[in-house]
């Protein structure tokens, strides 16, 4: 093993390098970052147009709509997670690198979350206000979305790794990821609803946090295994 070599950079160097590279790539092509955000805003706009602008309806449906829109927007950005790496050969470089693959996969996922998850969390208050969500509930919404997008990025990286190199588009990825993402949506949206109804909502936050921790420790291994299988 080369890991005893003192010249070998530590495992977090690889993670940081991958994440930095992906963020730089996204910075150079801001469209890829902005399009899912516009999609998010658009879905949130469509809903009041479809069901009517009455205040009580918006207050009632706001948490659910915002969460579903966030889930779909994340899904939209997942399709390309490993695609360009697969096409230009950087994925093969990652596979043969002495760095552990799960850590590199975690670096990719971290970058994905910073590029697509975090902006979603940051613009969510703006859309929540149009749904007449009170300030403290907006805080709960942001907290659940923060934990939830971490879960979704990690789960999504498994799906993206399984489908990399297949020319099937987003439909297959959605079919794989949505059943896995349902508990996240269910916990997230209902926690916000509970907070909006002045109910005890801490259970949902803890459960989402537990999900995020479990996903953080398990998903990179599944993603790494899937990447190896996909690039055989």
């Amino acid at each position: 093993m080369t890991s005893t070599n003192p010249q070998q950079p530590g495992i977090f160097a690889g993670l940081a390098a991958i994440a930095r590279r992906d963020i730089l790539l996204a910075w150079k092509r801001p469209g890829d970052v902005l399009n899912p955000l516009f999609f998010f805003a658009m879905v949130c706009t469509l809903f009041p147009l479809a069901v009517g602008p009455s205040a009580e309806q918006l207050i009632f449906s706001g948490p659910g709509v915002l969460w579903v829109a966030a889930l779909l927007a994340t899904l939209l950005s997942l399709n390309t997670l490993f695609m360009s790496d697969h096409e230009d050969g950087s994925l093969d470089q990652m596979l043969v690198s002495p760095q552990p693959l799960p850590v590199l996969a975690l670096g990719k996922t971290l970058a994905h979350w910073l590029i697509s998850g975090l902006p979603l969390v940051l613009i969510s208050p703006l859309l929540a206000l149009t749904y007449r969500m009170p300030g403290d509930v907006v805080g709960v919404l942001m907290l659940t979305l923060l934990l939830g997008t971490i879960c979704l990025s990690l789960l999504g990286s498994i799906g993206a790794a399984l489908t990399v190199g297949l020319h099937t588009g987003t439909a297959l990825l959605s079919l794989l990821i949505l059943p896995l993402a349902m508990p996240v949506l269910l916990l997230g949206a209902n926690t916000v609803s509970l907070a909006a109804g002045n109910d005890i909502y801490a259970t949902g936050i803890w459960a989402l946090g537990a999900y995020a921790v479990a996903a953080l420790s398990l998903a990179p291994y599944a993603t790494a295994a899937a990447l190896r299988i996909s690039s055989e």
Binding site: I158, L162, T163, L166, T168, L172, L175, L176, L178, P179, L180, M182, P183, L186, L187, N190, L194, T203, A207, Y211, L218, A222, A225, A226, I229, S230, E232
Partner: protein
């Protein structure tokens, strides 16, 4: 013992053993189902609350149980195939998925038919088991979709095995999260906890149906694995000899 096991997992050997195994599973299975159907419809007494409508449990319960057993076969098959690189194990997973999806669908349909007279609605989002079962159906669809979109069989085997294993973890989380969710939305549970026990004349047909369905599932699975093995080994010599044999592949 170990040698026997190893022998069984070789595709040509399984193909032969499977042929003798299927009638041993199918005939008792069908006999039990025949008894269970007759006893369940005619011998079991009416439920004092639900009347004759309860009789659908004789299909519903075995279907719901097999929907989960098939998933276990799929995930265990995938896991064994990934760890020990056993070709037959992957074939088990591939063969179990459509059966599992069919039983899940059957459980959902019979549940809906049962729900109509009992709850007054075909579908009740508030019931955690219905929602979990629906998500299970989607998991099966995802598994089969992934498998069919990868042309290379070996790659499809491994990728779908990873998905099935991730799904196992998910099924548990789905179960608990849906239970938490439905406890928010409904006051009372639909079935009383520790409710009335079942009379023997109701229980025995149900047990017969559960065992009968399980044996039938085993027979169908064994048959599907046989077909799967034949298809996967289509370029090998033993399949060629089998097909060209005078009996025509019996």
């Amino acid at each position: 013992m170990w040698k026997f096991f190893h022998h069984l997992t070789s595709p040509p050997h399984y193909y032969r053993v499977g042929a003798t195994l299927i009638p041993w599973l199918a005939i008792p299975g069908l006999a039990l189902i025949a008894y269970g159907t007759y006893a369940g419809l005619f011998l079991a007494s009416e439920d004092y609350q639900q009347g004759d409508a309860f009789r659908i449990i004789y299909v519903h319960v075995p279907a719901a149980y097999l929907s989960m057993l098939a998933y276990a076969f799929m995930a265990f098959g995938g896991g064994i195939g990934l760890i020990w690189r056993m070709k037959l194990a992957h074939a088990v997973g591939a063969a179990a998925a459509p059966l599992g999806a069919a039983f899940t669908f059957l459980a959902l349909v019979t549940g809906a038919i049962w729900g109509r007279p009992m709850w007054g609605t075909w579908w009740e989002w508030g019931d955690p088991r219905l929602t979990s079962e629906l998500i299970l159906l989607f998991l099966y669809f995802g598994y089969m979709a992934l498998r069919s979109s990868i042309d290379d069989t070996a790659k499809a085997d491994k990728a779908s095995a990873v998905l099935a294993l991730v799904g196992v973890v998910n099924v548990v989380i789905v179960h608990y999260s849906v239970e938490w969710w439905s406890s928010l939305h409904q006051g009372q549970t639909l079935f009383k906890k520790g409710g009335p026990g079942m009379d023997a004349d109701m229980l025995y047909p149900l047990l017969a149906m559960i065992f009968g369905f399980t044996l039938l599932f085993g027979a169908l699975l064994a048959r599907r694995i046989r077909t799967e093995v034949l298809f996967r080994e289509r370029r090998t010599r033993w399949v060629r000899e089998l097909v060209l044999a005078p009996e025509g592949g019996k």
